[in-house]
Symmetry: C2
Subunit: 122 residues, 2 copies
Amino acid sequence: MRIGELAERTGTSRRLLRYYEEQGLIIASRGANGYRDYDEASVDRVIQVRGLLDAGLPTRIIKQILPCLDKPRAIYFPDATPEMIATLEEERDRMARRAECLLRNRDAIAEYLDAVREYDPA
Amino acid sequence: MRIGELAERTGTSRRLLRYYEEQGLIIASRGANGYRDYDEASVDRVIQVRGLLDAGLPTRIIKQILPCLDKPRAIYFPDATPEMIATLEEERDRMARRAECLLRNRDAIAEYLDAVREYDPA
DNA sequence: TCGAACCATCACATACGTGTGAAGGTCTAC
DNA sequence: GTAGACCTTCACACGTATGTGATGGTTCGA
């Protein structure tokens, strides 16, 4: 598909799709006319990238963890250098901490809302 | 305590502490000399703010949810307008989605790391 | 009393995700 | 063949969280 369709299906501006490509987060083949051509998997990929961006990860980190996210896993493990593994472990824990923080605060909000409702059931 | 101590205890630059105050995320009383004076609770507050910022929330939103985070709850519920409640509900769900996304991807990274270790146990 | 170590405000700079628009090429339908 | 809807690259701009430095006041110990 071309960039317009991908933009519409993912709720992402064309500008950003080009930006994500520039940052190495998505790849697109090119037609003879220079137009980008995306496959179906790009839709999920873009949505995933946006989710991670929204969760506070910078493109630099997202790019590093993307190889982990391909299913079915078709990775050439020799690429996995010790530094890369260390980075991934660190990022894995960092993401867990972030999620923890979010859930903790989400619970606090929920609790607050419950209290408000109890105070004024209307 | 003064800003230097708070900065050290929270791992945050003085510049950012002043910025957070400017954004209404923390409050500080002032001494006769104009110096900011923070209480003990500021330490936790700053750490919480940083966690939320790191999780992708903008200061604007953090400011809105802060009243939910005070324990013990000492809130004047009449302040809770319907719009504010709607905002909080939205943000609560948004945070849950973010956390979900993070955990899903964290699991993918963990799975990848397990696979790498299995491939090369050394 | 002097110097170091704080503090204050203010201004400018940077990185990053994102918007917007210009200038121009390509495709399709009439 | 022309109009409109796509696409391309490029450049400039913005908001937000941050860094850095200038300039000057306060506190405190030698």
